[in-house]
Subunit: 477 residues, 2 copies
């Protein structure tokens, strides 16, 4: 068993804190090729839960899972120019097999719009065959230059949904519906509050008509794009010559969407909730919700007895738990539970047992509770709920506290340089965005929906042109 190493504090160096906690918390190991990581049982357990829960939500609105190939033939990728330009420098390319050169190159999918385009082409004839609402849970690969575990890795896992519809209206409705599903999931399960909005032209997905996004704020106040939903219009269906006979018996190109969340969500979760003792996993997504820690079991046989009894009780009430009956010290066991982010731990020792009690310790507030054994189930349920809510509320306060209005570029720079998010009227000029990024490091995150922040100015903070567009900018992951 490995020793626990010292964790750099968040204040000292947030980036170092992050790599410290993910390694000490047994979330990942570096893979044998650069920019790749290994998902250890704890992080993959979280991803497995994300998949299970989201998949159920998808199915409620008629999404069906499929699986398309990993490799894209060169000829196919060239069909959608806008799209390919965005990905070209990052495409891992298979050129040989068993030492022999291939006649055609193949790219490892960076995303699968073109593969779905080619597939859809043969699946539909008339409006009766629409919509097709498909999704796949797969790995994709983009040869990134700078990588960061979970946040930006060359290979990552995600779900990518791809749909085609009879009408623009239906496709746009699905684009919105999916953003709502992501929002509810990320907020309710991962306890990460987000700002919903639309990407500017500059930041939208290559090939999309428009892109919706949810943006989260990490503890260092940097932004992280947590999920996107794209309305593709007829861009891909025209490029791939996908047609159907509409009700007027005329050939038409269907209207498309695509949407996805990825293993970045793990990074978001860690950087939203973690503290200087390690990660904190919200109860509703935690593979292990309760650690049951046996103390001085050799001094009192009841310790093992009660520990097993509580474990079974929780298990039969669908509360996942693990017993730590190792011969490590009490301090080690507590720190070990904390560093792995288990939301709640129950410590069982001879002294407490004398008064028929055990001690519960919350991971989020570190508060301790002496609880009578007969109350254990009720208290555990209540605390897990409290922890889930507390994590969300804390993050929500932080998010709202750290968005500041910028009325001009000087204010904007001060806000960004102080690490906050800036919200401002912005003309959405693409060249202006490039300039702003170059000078301040901030990018436009989204044009927020329903955000209750008033902006008095009627002019763009940068160009001073009249505009009613409101945009959030921030430094980001």
């Amino acid at each position: 068993m490995k020793k626990l190493e010292k964790i750099t504090t968040q204040e000292e160096n947030f980036a170092k804190w992050y790599t410290d906690v993910i390694q000490n918390g047994d979330l990942m190991a570096y893979g044998s090729s650069k920019g790749s990581i290994i998902f250890k049982p704890l992080s993959f357990g979280i991803w497995d839960n994300i998949r299970l829960i989201l998949d159920k939500e998808f199915k409620k609105i008629g999404v069906k899972n499929v699986n398309l190939p990993l490799l894209i033939p060169e000829s196919l990728l060239n069909k959608e120019k806008n799209h390919i330009e965005g990905f070209n420098p990052e495409l891992a390319t298979v050129t040989e097999v068993g030492g022999k050169k291939l006649a055609e190159k193949f790219f490892i999918r960076p995303t699968s719009e073109v593969l779905f385009g080619d597939f859809f082409k043969n699946e539909i004839e008339s409006y009766n065959d629409l919509p097709l609402i498909y999704n796949q849970w797969v790995n994709v690969l983009r040869w990134e230059k700078t990588t960061n575990p979970f946040l930006r890795t060359r290979e990552f896992l995600w779900q990518e949904g791809h749909t085609i519809h009879n009408s623009q209206k239906e496709a746009e409705l699905l684009t919105t519906k999916m953003l709502d599903i992501y929002t509810s999931f990320v907020q309710d399960y991962l306890a990460i509050p987000v700002i919903k909005g639309q990407k500017t032209e500059h930041e939208k997905f290559a090939g999309a008509t428009y892109t919706y996004t949810i943006e989260a704020m990490m503890k260092d106040k940097k932004a992280l794009q947590a999920g996107t939903s794209h309305y593709l219009g007829q861009n891909f269906t025209k490029a791939f010559d996908i047609t159907f006979k509409n009700k007027e018996n005329k050939l038409e190109n269907p209207y498309g969407t695509s949407w996805g969340v990825s293993t970045r969500l793990l990074g978001a979760l860690i950087m939203t909730h973690g503290d200087d003792r390690g990660i904190i996993i919200p109860p509703k997504i935690a593979p292990v919700q309760v650690d049951i820690i046996e103390l001085f079991a050799n001094k009192d046989p009841r310790v093992k007895e009660v520990s097993l009894q509580i474990s079974n009780l929780l298990e039969s009430n669908a509360i996942s738990n693990e017993i730590d009956n190792s011969n490590k010290s009490a301090g080690f066991k507590a720190a070990n539970s904390e560093i792995h982010g288990t939301p709640l731990r129950i410590e069982i020792g001879p002294r407490d047992l004398e008064s028929n009690c055990v001690t519960l310790v919350r991971r989020d507030t570190l508060q301790k509770y002496q609880v009578t054994i007969s109350d254990i189930l009720e208290t555990t349920k209540k605390l897990l709920e409290d922890i889930q809510n507390n994590l969300f509320n804390q993050a929500k306060l932080r998010l709202l506290d750290n968005i500041k209005v910028a009325n001009n570029y000087d204010q904007f720079k001060e806000i960004i340089n102080s690490g906050y998010w800036a919200i401002a009227k912005f003309c959405c000029d693409e060249a202006a965005e490039d300039e702003i990024k170059k000078e301040t490091g901030a990018t436009s995150r989204c044009m927020p929906f329903n955000l209750d922040i008033e902006i008095q100015s009627n002019n763009c903070f940068y160009s001073n042109r009249k505009t009613d567009k409101i945009v959030i900018f921030a430094k980001s992951y």
Copy 2:
């Protein structure tokens, strides 16, 4: 909506029947690169169920899911010579990114022993850290020359388990346990009877000490390897210099296993149960267990009413179902349900409703049952159970009927040429196996465990040398 096309009969041409039913049954489409397929919702739904059920069984014995990278650096793969030789001609190789040549080549994983080897190396120090019992559900790629949907595709999906242990005994026990889990799953859920056994030296996995297998018989009597469990000894742990301090405080190499089942199981399922009307999916693995078919709904409003009522009733009893309320003919709807292999269909029409009845039709026997609406739940449950058992029993009879004893090579050739499986005493000489394959097309499938077939001869059917080894040979997929 596509027309149903004529299916070639099994007797006429089994291979053609197979590609007919998988396409008409909407199981797959060919991908845009050769040898690749697209899993449509029905086939991926079956695979999703396989994953859910097997994963639960794995977790019961302590398996934890992880996820390792897709790419293997060339330098890493070269560490295990026996292993690499087996896969070399099939390795898809990434040599460039965005048009630029890479300094080192990367192979798309054909299997992940070497990646796990490299990972395990840093995960253990002492016997306290063992065992590691890991599994991943991923895609792998082998550039096969001849491909066949589900059975042999360049990319396929599988689970691959990789474990390391303190002792040979523990590792061997796990190898056996996993074979038992596969056997129960394939027999109980997929309704495919199998022969358990050990592969000969000639057929074992490259790098394994020995390989256990389960072998199934398709309807054309060809064999299909449905799952394997390998005892790896210290082969990989020595090659990767993985060591731990044992209880005597001495450095030792741990003992390994690996085991897997793949999307081949879908091919096995189709070729075990399908008939000339299409595929047949066993109820316990079917994404849709019951099709509810509305007939002449325009003539009696009760049709829609009862259909919805039955659908809800089944749903709330965890029986998955779909309503067909399209305006197609009764004949089309029945054929459509049959070709998609739904185990049971319920036809609801005005005439039956007059006597408060609906008609149930089994997919396996095509038997019809007129059932009072109030009995529908009980009868559906009973029939689904019957169908599951009947599919297994039919396949079991066929398996046992078609294994014949060969006492000499002439008998052997006659048995194989007639399409049967041959069971015989065999010396297990590797050159002999090559010869037999060349002359008859048959390969050794396994040395069966606990198979109740008596073989009088004491000598090898081929070399006539004395031996007590019993081997099954067959043509195979």
